[in-house]
Each structure stands twice: as structure tokens, then as C-alpha cells.
């Protein structure tokens, strides 16, 4: 039993390391895209490791719930990352920043959004 506990703690600590790395990337990386890259990927992996580490110590029902949470967080992380990357790309295309314009003007400035996605966010 003890080596299982040790494995669980190791996985938890590894997950924390990924979380810290992602947060550091969010704070220190120079531009929007690399920050998104750091924070979404590292956090997904970190959460996965934490779930794995906790599932060793818990019942199968709790494990199932945690897996569901991980799946949801992973999917919504991917979607929100794509959305943010897309928005900042469009904002970079159309200076000045979209969020500070008149509502009427934003309709025009988002029109490049209809162009096919050429730049990959991740």
C-alpha cells in the first residue's frame, strides 16, 4: 500500500510542477500566443496528473467524477484558448484594439474573422 501512496504523492507533486510552470509562463512570456500556449497546455497536463494522483487514493465513484471534471476542463480549455487566440489575432490585425471602439465599428473590424484560419493558435 505504501508504494501506491508514494506514487500518488509523486504524481500530485509532478502536477503541481506543471501548474507552476504554466503560471510562470503566463506571467513571463512576451506575447499573447505563447502565454496561452503555456497556460492551457501545462494546466491541462497538471490537472490530469493531479486527478491521476488523487484517483489512486479514492473510490472508483470519485475517480469517475474527477475524470469527468478533467474532460470538461480540457475541452473548455481548448475552446477558450482558441477563442482568445482568435480574438487577439483579429485585434492585432485591426488596430486600435477592438474592445475600445464604438459598437458600430466593431462590426467592420471583425470581418477578417470570416477569413479562413491560417495561423494556428497552439
Amino acid at each position: 500500500m505504501s508504494w501506491l501512496d508514494g506514487l500518488s504523492w509523486f504524481l500530485l507533486l509532478l502536477g503541481l510542477v506543471f501548474f507552476i510552470a504554466g503560471s510562470l509562463g503566463l506571467l513571463r512570456f512576451p506575447d499573447q500566443f505563447s502565454r496561452l500556449h503555456a497556460v492551457t497546455k501545462a494546466d491541462t497536463l497538471g490537472l490530469g496528473l493531479v486527478v491521476l494522483g488523487l484517483s489512486i487514493q479514492s473510490s472508483w465513484r470519485e475517480t469517475l467524477l474527477m475524470l469527468l471534471i478533467w474532460l470538461l476542463v480540457m475541452c473548455s480549455g481548448a475552446v477558450s484558448c482558441q477563442l482568445l487566440a482568435r480574438f487577439s489575432r483579429d485585434a492585432a490585425d485591426a488596430e486600435p484594439l477592438i474592445s475600445h471602439q464604438e459598437p458600430g465599428q466593431t462590426a467592420n473590424s471583425t470581418s477578417p474573422a470570416s477569413a479562413p484560419v491560417t495561423k494556428r493558435a497552439e
Binding site: 473548455s76 475552446v79 462590426a107 474573422a113
Partner: protein, 303 residues
């Protein structure tokens, strides 16, 4: 010891987020820090043995307030590099008041006066539900909940009067399909929270806030176009919580054996509370959605 360490870390993070949200030079940063502050407050509620509040705050503070503040941010004029004026006199004044408050709060005795919670636990079997918070909200202090629904409705009416135009961004296929995929899950969770509210943390407020955040996501993706104040059924739904509440209260006043306003007979109390809560959930969800999204002019979705 470990718990105290957690408390100290959480308190520091919450304080830093609040301080930077207020003193940050950039308004956009301030709004984002404020949203993070909401999430951390949800963690604090969970730590302080208030799971009901944690559920509500997670849906409201992390979801709805964020959407609200970003909507307001879009309308802000461009001059965003502002500085909080730090003049000496106001700082001294506020610091003095805070110190006095701190001093008086620390005088509060650690051992509580158990009178009120004792009465709740004594009366709980007669309330029709097993969860004390739900019993307080919908039986012992149902006036609060009734008036709260009224406040929500008044806020909605006021916001409708002061409404200003806002353009919704065109939806995007990935976020659209993800929000569609999420919606059955959110409806399922709403029903679960509502049903569980009788026996465990949960209830009309949490369920309503959760349903509202789901509706807001769909609405921002330009789904559910019927969900607007122009639609009479939506108006009815926004009114339904208050309406059902008042009708049930009248019924209890006129026909039940006790003849008391908002006093449910013990035998039917569980069913009455569940009925009121269902309509209150619907009303809270619709009202919050309309408050957050308003009546946007729509932009055609791109593929």
C-alpha cells in the same frame, strides 16, 4: 497547522487580487483581476463550510459577473491608462475607519450564541426539507426570498429602461458546437441542484445561477434568439417565480388551517417548496440572462 497555512495563502491571494483590482492602472486588468477575485471567494466559501455559497458564487462570480463586466468594458471610452489618486487625507481616513472596524471585529466572542441555530434545528422536521439553508430560505424566512425575487425583477425593469445598444460578436463554429454540447449537461445539473436542495447544499438560487450562465453562453453564441424581453412568454417566465410565490402565500393565508401568510402546512411543505423553487429557478435564470445579455443587435454568424 496545514489548514492555517492554507488560510493564510488564500487570504493573501484574495487581498492581492482585490488590491490590484482597485489600484491597477489599466481598467481591463482590473476587470480580469476582479473575476479571479470571484473565483477565489468561491474557494473561501467552500473553506468556511458554506457549500451553498460556494456553488452560487462559482456560477455568479466566475461566470455571470465576468460577462457583465466585459460588456461594460466594451462601452468604455479609449482612455484606459488611469491612476487611482492617492491623496493623503482619504487614505488616512479610510485607514482609521478600517482600524476601528478591525478592532471591534476582533472583540467578537469566538463562542457563538446558539439560540437561533438551535431554533432552526428544532423546527427543521416541520419545514418539509432536510437541508437547513433551504428551510430557512423557503420556509422560516420566506419573506426574504419573496422580496429578493422582487428585487431581481425591479433590477431587470430598471436595466430595460436604461438599456443601451450592444453588438454581439459573430458566433464561431467551435464555441457554438461546444456550447450546444454543454447545454444538456447544464440542464441536467440544474435539475440535480434543484432536487438535491431539499436534502443537501443546492436549491433554487444555485440552480438558477447555473442555468443562467448556460443560457448566457448560448445567447452570446447567438442561439436562443427568442429569449428577449419582447417575447411575452419570456416575460411570463421572468414573472413566474414571484407570481407562484405570492399565489401560494395567498392560498396559505386563505385556505390552509393555520391561516398565516407564507406558512406552509407541514404535510405539504416539501411539495410546496419544490414547486416554488422550480418556478423561482426559471425566473432567476431568465432574469439574470436578460440582465447580463440585454437586447443585443445581432451580427450574422460567420461559418
Amino acid at each position: 497547522m496545514g489548514l492555517l497555512l492554507f488560510d493564510l495563502v488564500l487570504a493573501t491571494v484574495v487581498l492581492l487580487l482585490a488590491g490590484t483590482a482597485i489600484f491597477s492602472r489599466n481598467l481591463t486588468h482590473a476587470v480580469m483581476l476582479f473575476m479571479a477575485f470571484g473565483v477565489m471567494m468561491a474557494l473561501a466559501w467552500a473553506r468556511l463550510a458554506a457549500p451553498d455559497l460556494a456553488l452560487a458564487e462559482a456560477a455568479i462570480g466566475a461566470g455571470l459577473t465576468g460577462a457583465l463586466c466585459f460588456t461594460a468594458l466594451v462601452r468604455q471610452p479609449a482612455a484606459l491608462d488611469s491612476k487611482v489618486a492617492t491623496s493623503l487625507l482619504p487614505i488616512c481616513f479610510v485607514a482609521l475607519i478600517t482600524a476601528a472596524l478591525l478592532f471591534s471585529v476582533w472583540q467578537i466572542p469566538v463562542s457563538p450564541n446558539p439560540a437561533l441555530s438551535h431554533e432552526v434545528s428544532v423546527a427543521l422536521p416541520q419545514s418539509g426539507v432536510a437541508h437547513p439553508v433551504t428551510a430557512v430560505l423557503l420556509n422560516f424566512r420566506s419573506w426574504d426570498t419573496l422580496l429578493e425575487l422582487l428585487v431581481l425583477l425591479l433590477a431587470l425593469l430598471g436595466a430595460q429602461q436604461a438599456q443601451s445598444s450592444l453588438t454581439l460578436y459573430a458566433g464561431w463554429s467551435l464555441s457554438l458546437s461546444w456550447s450546444r454540447l454543454l447545454s444538456p449537461l447544464i440542464i441536467l445539473l440544474t435539475g440535480y441542484l434543484l432536487w438535491r436542495g431539499a436534502a443537501a447544499p443546492g436549491g433554487a438560487f444555485q440552480a438558477g445561477a447555473l442555468l443562467a450562465s448556460g443560457l448566457v453562453v448560448l445567447r452570446l453564441n447567438q442561439q436562443l434568439t427568442w429569449l428577449s424581453w419582447q417575447n411575452p412568454w419570456v416575460r411570463l417566465a421572468a414573472l413566474s417565480g414571484l407570481l407562484v410565490f405570492v399565489l401560494t402565500g395567498l392560498f396559505s393565508l386563505l385556505w390552509s388551517s393555520s391561516r398565516l401568510w407564507l406558512e406552509w402546512p407541514t404535510a405539504y411543505a416539501g411539495a410546496v417548496i419544490l414547486g416554488i423553487e422550480s418556478f423561482a429557478t426559471l425566473a432567476i435564470a431568465v432574469t439574470l440572462t436578460l440582465l447580463v445579455v440585454g437586447e443585443p443587435t445581432e451580427e450574422r454568424a460567420d461559418a
